[in-house]
């Protein structure tokens, strides 16, 4: 078995550590690029959302490098992501690829037995002992958590750093170096080291940067390629950002959801506006908008792919939150358009708006 998987932000580093630890052969698809998107757009249904297209591009590029099995997380949820695995299996088959899919669904959808069954297919191609396997999973989860923490720290401190661009370049270097590690333990200590270095970046605590929360659809907020590297751009502008949706948040949420004790703060915050689970992460989007207001953020940016049903619902709720809390929220729709002029205009105008609002509140005008 030569496994591959679609890209999602920094997930490839966690998966790399996992497969290295398990001793399973794998292919990491080339980083998302216009090329991957072009391949995906050519073969995908036109109306499908952007993540689907990029993922198809990932698979095809990975197959070129010898991959024969795709490992994918599933969801039988009401949003289109629930159909991704079936659609993608059919699509790849009709294109003549002999590609095996291992879909990791929730136990409540496929039964715990079936999940273990699917996991054992992956496990059986590893020659390690059971203890070593458990250790590999543990390290990979640790790496994912640490990466998300480090990234969040870099995004937040970018607003306070004394030497412009230091957080951004440190974090990107961390990703590049981690990619070179062949041993999970080595990667873990490398990321720890970088986290420490970002913690010690010289900051000006008297600075009061604009603070923006990034909310919306999980794929398009996490995967920088799909959102025109919005977080990097905000770092360049000296804006502090926060994003609740991370791969490690997703893991934790999934693990706790059978007990219904997942993301209690978000559920509580969103109750007034959206008390139901409507699929995707619409409820999280609403909840995070309100939580970030409570935490003193200046505004929020919602990102979602064109045609995303759950986020269309939350988009129509956000103006009410904006009005009730006097909290600016801008929605950005991403699709396979790669021209970024209009995108940058909106981003800059939004930052201007937040800055001016603040001046006005502080000094009057």
């Amino acid at each position: 078995m030569k496994a591959t998987f679609p890209h999602l932000g920094n997930v490839y580093l966690g998966v790399k550590a996992l497969f290295d630890g398990l001793g399973i052969d794998y292919v990491i698809p080339p980083q998302n690029s216009d090329h991957a998107l072009n391949i995906g757009t050519r073969h995908s249904p036109d109306e499908i959302c952007l993540p689907f297209k990029i993922m198809i591009g990932n698979y095809m590029q990975a197959v070129e490098e010898g991959a024969d099995t795709v490992i994918l997380t599933g969801s039988c949820g009401p949003c289109r992501f629930g159909e991704y695995c079936e659609l993608q299996m059919n699509l790849m088959k009709s294109l003549g690829y002999d590609l095996k899919f291992i879909v990791l669904d929730m136990p409540k959808d496929i039964g715990i037995k079936e999940l273990f069954n699917r996991l054992s297919i992956i496990g059986s191609s590893s020659k390690k002992s059971r203890l070593q396997k458990l250790r590999a999973v543990k390290t990979a989860v640790q790496i994912m958590h640490l990466l998300d923490e480090t990234e969040a720290l870099a995004h937040y401190l970018a607003g306070y750093e004394r030497n412009k661009g230091q957080c951004k370049s440190l974090f990107h270097r961390c990703r590049r170096e981690a990619m070179k590690c062949s041993d999970p333990q080595e990667m873990l200590s490398l990321i720890k080291e970088y986290k420490k270095r970002i913690e010690y970046v010289p900051v000006d605590i008297n600075k009061d940067p604009v603070k923006i929360a990034i909310i919306g659809e999980i794929y398009t907020v996490i995967e920088p390629y799909s959102n025109f590297c919005i977080e990097d751009k905000l770092m360049d502008y000296g804006v502090s950002t926060k994003r609740g949706m991370t791969p490690s948040w997703w893991l934790k949420n999934m693990a706790l959801s059978p007990l219904k004790i997942n993301s209690l703060d978000i559920k509580k915050a969103s109750r007034k506006y959206l008390s139901l689970e409507i699929g995707g992460h619409a409820r999280e989007c609403i909840g995070e908008a309100i939580l970030s207001w409570k935490e003193g953020f200046d505004g929020a940016i919602q990102i979602y792919p064109l045609g995303c049903m759950p986020e269309i619902v939350s988009k129509s709720i956000l103006p009410a939150i904006s009005r009730d809390y006097d909290f600016p929220i801008m929605s950005l729709v991403v699709d396979d358009m790669t021209g970024e002029a209009g995108f940058i205009t909106r981003l800059e105008a939004f930052i201007d708006l937040l800055e001016r609002r603040r001046d006005n509140v502080l000094f009057g005008s």
Binding site: G165, P328, G342, T345, R346, A349
Partner: protein
């Protein structure tokens, strides 16, 4: 002592000179014609004959070509169109609450409360209802674009035209034409459709309060103004320099900026004679393979842009004046 503002848009390039009391003293309107560098050079040639470059104490750029404009002329402020338009509108009238701006390629709505921008929106994936579409229809009906609005006002009644999509609006128009409706009625119908499209798409979820200013090139169209007034139920105002508002805003913002920094980065009118050109190349630093544009002035490199990681632009932030405003 003048402040210069350049609005390098997709269709037109506007240059505005304002004095220190923010009064407009010179305006130049040029067609961009897909060559932004040449458009600026042309504009500078005209300015050069009338003014000394030492009189320009601040320069700002805006519009979709603001980065390239800043790279070649040296700007104190590089501002997005939304902020620039709002700044100019507030200078024109402090009471303004809503700005409707329709340009060549995009349309915007800006909501203002107590003199600050509180909300805005731009058209997303659809360009229906913008200047380019009107231009095309005027051409097809063989009416000069300047008279388009008058035709609409002359119509006794209106024809319903689908306004959601430019392509379907066009087929609807052709269909109505073949049924024998008068040009005037079709044009009025088109204006109504575009206004509906604007209010439903760009203005969606926003409360439009008076006083409303109508800016951008399309504001010249009296038919559009009338259609907006009918739909909104109150009078809207078109400022005298409706097509120059972006450039005026950029000039004023640059003036404010220089007051802070004390010195302008403006490089003078000499670029009108120099040979300025751009070359693009695919960066091979990572799989993104960004298309990077390199701007030359004779043999010197003025700046780079187009990369995502700032491997190139990082070197020239100074020249580009990134977020210097």
């Amino acid at each position: 002592m003048y402040y210069l503002g350049v609005d390098l848009g997709s269709v037109s390039t506007d240059l505005a000179l304002v004095d220190k009391n923010h009064n407009l003293v010179e305006k130049i309107y040029l067609k961009t014609r897909g060559n932004p560098i040449k458009a600026i050079q042309e504009g500078f040639k005209i300015l050069k004959d009338k003014y000394d470059e030492r009189e320009i104490t601040a320069a700002g750029t805006t519009g979709s070509g603001r980065m390239i404009a800043s790279a070649i002329m040296g700007a104190d402020a590089v501002k997005n169109e939304i902020t620039a338009h709002a700044r100019a509108a507030l200078e024109f009238d402090k009471e303004v609450r809503t700005i409707i701006e329709i340009g060549g390629q995009d349309s915007k709505i800006i909501i203002i409360n107590k003199g600050i921008v509180t909300d805005f929106a731009m058209n997303t994936v659809c360009a229906a209802g913008t200047g380019s579409f009107l231009d095309r229809q005027a051409e097809r009906l063989e009416i000069p674009i300047e008279e388009f609005g008058d035709y609409a006002l002359r119509a006794g009644s209106t024809v319903r035209i689908a306004g959601r999509c430019a392509v379907f609006a066009e087929s609807d128009m052709i269909h109505k034409q073949q049924l024998g409706y008068a040009k005037e009625e079709i044009i009025r119908g088109l204006c109504d459709a575009l206004v509906r499209n604007y209010l439903n798409n760009v203005g969606k979820g926003k409360t439009i309060l008076p006083k409303v200013l109508f800016q951008g090139g399309v504001a010249a169209n009296k038919g559009m103004k009338a259609a907006f007034e009918k739909e909104l139920g109150f009078e809207i105002f078109v400022p005298e320099n409706y097509s120059m508002m972006g450039a005026i805003g950029a000039a004023i913002i640059a003036g404010d900026q220089v007051k802070k920094t004390g010195k302008t980065k403006f490089r003078g009118f000499k670029l009108a004679e120099n040979n300025i050109f751009s070359r693009s190349f695919d960066c091979d630093g990572c799989p993104n393979r960004c298309e990077v544009v390199k701007i030359y002035e004779n043999d010197n490199i003025l700046g780079y842009f187009g990369d995502r990681c700032s491997r190139w632009t990082g070197k020239t932030n100074e020249i580009l004046g990134l977020r210097s405003g």
